[in-house]
């Protein structure tokens, strides 16, 4: 231990530049250069027609892919900023919490793809004559796919902050800024990183869907891998689609290896002592980075900056909350607050219904119509879940119970879950046309291309967490296969399975918006369902609003009636 002693930084000064440092330096410079080059395109003016050309020339693919990747990271940045602000507000203000948390709960269930038409028009109007509007709309779509999950995770970690850390902060009279960055954010770091990785993987789908979009009769395109595929599909160029799929796989894996794996391994240091790590995360890239001297050099620069910032932020005050106000006064405030919120909600609801009722080509008759369409889509989601469960749960259990297989399969499944399934649509559609399958049935398959992996992924995680002593017990007493499933495996994986099921169902609802109307070359297939309704009415805001609202109702109601109850049962009765 005494080797660690000495003046801070002495070790850095004494060290020579090693080859590792050079590698890291070059990699960083190259990355900066690439970002600058790609970023230049963000504000390019639109051509007079309002549409930039999309080519399917393979030589454009790397640039397009880089633009897409940049979009993903910009969205991630905004998601994190949003998460910290929203989560902090929800956790620290009793009254804000009452409003912010339900909003977040609803936002999580709303099919965000349905909003694209709204947001594209709004952002384009905000930046006329520039691609920046489209760019913002696309980033916003990705943001909506990433942010809610992250925010919930941070809010949860804020609410479950260990009591002694709260007392520590107050007894040392830390500044609010200090408490936030030294205690609250680190305490939530592991949740943020893991949820960030999951949400990031899920948002590729939205990237692809948001780059090329048609609103009313306007076709909008952004340079990106999604537009590239869109153009290739329109041309019927399966070779180009295949190429893009290859690039996409490389990107998904690359981001995982170079960004998320190192981050998850690094975030292990933020584990609070009372919770144990189930398995140690390792990353070669992180090891390489840590062996170079850059982290220490940059770390000291960061410390100086942080010191200055912390000094400025003393203005935000200390963490010594005044004694709570008298209950009567608080109660009076609560009543006023509730009344105001209630009035705003009631007025908004009235206006929305009024809008649907009076808008041209709409009317209250749309609402039952939407519910009928929704029932069709709901039926598809149910079939998908049952099918996915029957196929993937046994396979997932088999993988999960074999640690060696699990170690290989887990990252593969993760990539499969991240891979935007809409890339594969053309091949499936081609098959449907050839075989004469209606999209009413085929749509289920399209929706499941992306959604089913969550079931598999979570089942593997649940099965591998079943303690080996319980499995040995089953062996010792020669428990048969049926009884083993009934008494050990199903109860053991239930809570993970529910997590996977709820994610898969949410993904399937979202996917219905792109899976119920598909085009290939000159053929358009349409299914009867709410997703198709939303796409077809992207120009009619009243109908669009109605469609999205009904879909949200379906998602929220099923979550409440089915998934939450199952989850509570799993947590109370079957937690291991």
């Amino acid at each position: 231990m005494s080797a660690l002693r000495g003046l801070p930084g002495r070790a850095v000064l004494r060290r020579r530049f090693s080859p590792v440092d050079v590698v890291v330096l070059i990699a960083v410079l190259a990355a900066i250069y690439a970002v600058l080059q790609v970023g230049k395109g963000l504000t390019v003016s639109l051509s007079p027609a309002g549409v930039s050309k999309v080519s399917t020339d393979p030589s454009h693919l790397p640039y397009d892919a880089a633009r897409s990747l940049l979009r993903m990271f910009i969205a991630l940045f905004f998601s994190i900023v949003f998460t910290l602000l929203y989560g902090y507000a929800a956790a620290h203000s009793r009254r804000a919490e009452k409003v912010l948390v339900p909003i977040l709960d609803i936002l999580q269930s709303v099919p965000v793809l349905g909003f694209l038409a709204f947001t594209v028009t709004a952002f384009v109007a905000l930046f006329p004559g520039s691609e920046l509007g489209l760019e913002c709309a696309s980033i916003f779509a990705i943001f909506t796919a990433q942010a809610w999950n992250l925010t919930f995770s941070f809010y949860q970690s804020e609410k479950t902050l260990p009591r002694e850390l709260d007392e520590l902060s107050r007894s040392l009279r830390l500044t609010r800024w200090q408490r936030f960055w030294k205690i609250e954010v680190p305490n939530g770091a592991i949740g943020l990183v893991w949820n960030g990785m999951m949400s990031f993987g899920g948002s590729w789908f939205f990237l692809v869907a948001s780059e090329a979009i048609t609103v009313s009769s306007h076709k909008y395109h952004l340079p990106g891998i999604g537009s590239f595929v869109g153009a290739a599909i329109a041309k019927g160029d399966l070779g180009a689609v295949g190429l893009a799929i290859g690039v996409m796989i490389v990107m998904v894996i690359g981001v995982n290896v170079l960004f998320w794996r190192p981050l998850t391994a690094w975030s292990e240091r933020y584990r609070y002592e009372t919770t144990e790590a189930t398995e140690v995360q390792r990353s070669l890239v992180l090891n390489l980075l840590m062996r170079s001297s850059w982290p220490r050099v940059l770390g000291r620069a960061r410390l100086r900056m942080a010191e200055r910032l912390a000094r400025m932020m003393r203005i935000l005050g200390r963490d010594d909350a005044p004694p709570p106000a008298p209950v009567t006064r608080r109660r009076a405030g609560d009543i006023v607050y509730t009344a105001v919120i209630g009035a705003v909600v009631a007025y908004g609801g009235y206006r929305a219904i009024n809008y649907v009722a009076t808008a041209p080509h709409a009317g209250l008759g749309e609402i039952p119509h939407c519910f009928a369409l929704g029932a069709a889509t709901f039926a598809r989601v149910v079939v998908l879940l049952i099918g996915g469960t029957l196929i993937w749960v046994p396979i997932g259990v088999w993988i999960g119970l074999n640690p060696r297989v699990a170690r290989i399969a887990q990252p593969v499944v993760q990539v499969l879950a991240s891979f935007p399934a809409n890339f594969l649509f053309p091949f499936a559609v081609l098959a449907f046309i050839k075989l004469g399958i209606s999209l009413n049935i085929g749509g289920i398959l399209l929706m499941s291309l992306g959604a089913q992996w969550y079931i598999l992924f979570n089942t593997i995680a649940g099965a591998s967490a079943i303690p080996s002593d319980l499995r040995e017990t089953m062996d010792v007493y020669r428990v048969g296969r049926r009884q083993r499933w009934k008494r050990l495996i199903i109860p053991g994986i239930l809570s993970s399975y529910v997590t996977g099921g709820i994610t898969a169902a949410g993904g399937a609802w979202n996917a219905s918006i792109v899976a119920e109307v598909v085009q290939y070359h000159h053929t358009t297939l349409t299914a009867y369902g709410l997703g198709a309704y939303i796409v077809q009415n992207s120009g009619n805001h009243a109908r669009l609003l109605c469609g999205i609202a009904v879909m949200s109702v379906y998602v929220v109601v099923v979550n409440r009636l089915l998934w939450r109850r199952l989850y509570r049962l799993a947590e109370t009765r079957y937690s291991l």
Binding site: L174, T175, R318
Partner: protein, 447 residues
């Protein structure tokens, strides 16, 4: 006791005659709100001064509110009535003159030892260079030299708590508050750390003027303190204050030391008149609180006492099984409540029925337990009667929880019902279905 040692008891050079209290607590009460708007007293009528140069130990069973009192003094929670004064001025918000050492260490695992220690200085706006100098000084003082760049994960429990001490002492608090600081450590580590801390205190190098510590360990209190304050339970009141006049370092095996420990054991096990339960037969569920004791533990202690014969000093019994008093007291309370034993002056005696219970086989001991529980434990009797009068011999647990929450906090109500269910199940008085939350009469009895 031994008054000529008085000068050695207060080694701190800062102390002067006629010292003014650093912290003084006046008529403090603390209630927690129950769910139906009632109030649950935790602390009542507390008056306490801590003056420079003394070490005070707050001793009590679990549920005596000793940690609550410590947090009131730290200003982390506000008292329901009464005041906490710091240097004569009533406290508003967090006490600026104290630092707190936690039972669970409460170190930030993402910061190094030095960064952890600097935390409080940073909050005060001390410059980085000065911060580092003072932190290293504190680290050195507390014997952590060489560990300043280590992360808490790399340290053993004892080393971690040293970081906790360094972090508290580096801000030079007037009063150091310690919340069971040694109870998460193994016996040897705790002993070592206690000794080192006392040596620092005695050498006059201690950065704090006084220490107030919460403990449930009687020997620890006698080893450490100049004054031991014993808290009673339900609600917590100060039962006794004892001056410990023994010279330091104190010898655990000296007769004076052992006499003091026995005396405190006696104080803590004897019920003062105010806490004596009224005749059990007609008393309500609010008057007789069930101790958090398992049937197995109670039976085990009964057998142990039976085997011990005349060697029935509680202090010795605790030592034999390696128990902390927090583990032992609920079992003793269960035995006295059930009428299996009586306690006097720190000695435990089995009653006639207690001897039968200890010596019986499983079925017989269940019978004895059943009779005792029905006769002397109001909650068990109440549940049993309610079930007998119900239509189908089944009632929801929520019914009893609501009843209990009129008198206890939500957690305590759960704990009370949990113990009653445990006892009732053992006595075969009723059954419990946790999935449905239902309590019912055993099948053979309800028919």
């Amino acid at each position: 006791m031994i008054n000529d040692m008085d000068s050695q008891v207060r080694p701190s050079s800062q102390s002067a005659p006629g010292r003014r209290a650093i912290v003084s607590v006046r008529d403090l009460t603390k209630h927690f709100a129950t769910r139906d708007g009632g109030e649950l007293p935790v602390l009542e009528g507390i008056n306490l001064d801590v003056v420079p140069g003394e070490i005070v130990a707050l001793l009590g069973k679990s549920g005596s509110g000793k940690s609550t009192l410590l947090r009131c003094i730290a200003g982390l929670i506000a008292p329901s009535s009464g005041t906490v004064n710091y240097r004569g001025a009533p406290l508003r918000g967090v006490n600026p003159g104290v630092a707190l050492v936690f039972q669970t260490f409460a170190l930030l695992p993402w910061l190094t030892v030095q960064q952890n220690v600097e935390l409080g200085l940073e909050a005060q706006g001390v410059e980085p260079a000065e911060r580092a100098r003072r932190a290293l000084e504190a680290i050195d003082l507390i014997g952590l030299d060489g560990f300043e760049s280590a992360f808490p994960k790399e340290l053993s429990g004892g080393m971690r708590q040293r970081v906790g001490f360094a972090r508290a002492l580096v801000v030079n608090p007037d009063l150091l508050l310690m919340d069971e600081p040694f109870s998460a450590l193994d016996v040897l580590t705790a002993e070592n750390l206690r000794t080192e801390l006392l040596e620092l205190w005695k050498a006059g190098e201690f950065p704090a003027e006084a220490i107030l510590m919460v403990t449930h360990n009687i020997e620890e209190a006698v080893i450490f303190a100049d004054r031991v304050v014993v808290l009673g339970t339900n609600p917590g009141r100060i039962r006794t204050e004892l001056q410990i006049g023994l010279a330091r370092p104190r010898d655990r095996r000296s007769p004076e030391f052992e006499a003091l420990v026995d005396e405190i054991y006696g104080i803590m096990t004897d019920r003062p008149s105010a806490e004596t339960p009224p005749e059990a037969e007609e008393s309500g569920i609010e008057q007789v609180m069930l101790p958090h004791a398992s049937v197995d533990g109670t039976a085990g202690l009964a057998e142990l006492v039976l085997a011990a014969g005349d060697e029935n000093e509680l202090a010795d019994l605790a030592a034999v099984v390696g128990f902390e008093i927090d583990d032992l007291f609920p079992l003793i309370d269960a035995m006295t409540l059930l009428g299996f034993a009586t306690v006097e002056n720190g000695h435990i005696h089995l009653t006639e029925i207690g001897e039968q219970f200890a010596g019986a086989d499983i079925q017989r001991s269940k019978e004895i337990f059943r009779e005792a529980a029905l006769a002397r434990v109001p909650l068990v009797r109440r549940i049993h009667r309610a079930l007998e009068h119900s239509v189908d011999g089944t009632l929801r647990e929520g019914f009893f929880l609501d009843l209990l929450q009129r008198h206890y906090s939500v957690e305590e109500a759960r704990a009370q019902l949990g113990t009653a269910i445990d006892w009732g199940r053992y006595a075969e008085l009723f059954e419990y279905d946790s999935a449905r939350g239902e309590i019912s009469l055993p099948v053979h009895a309800s028919a």
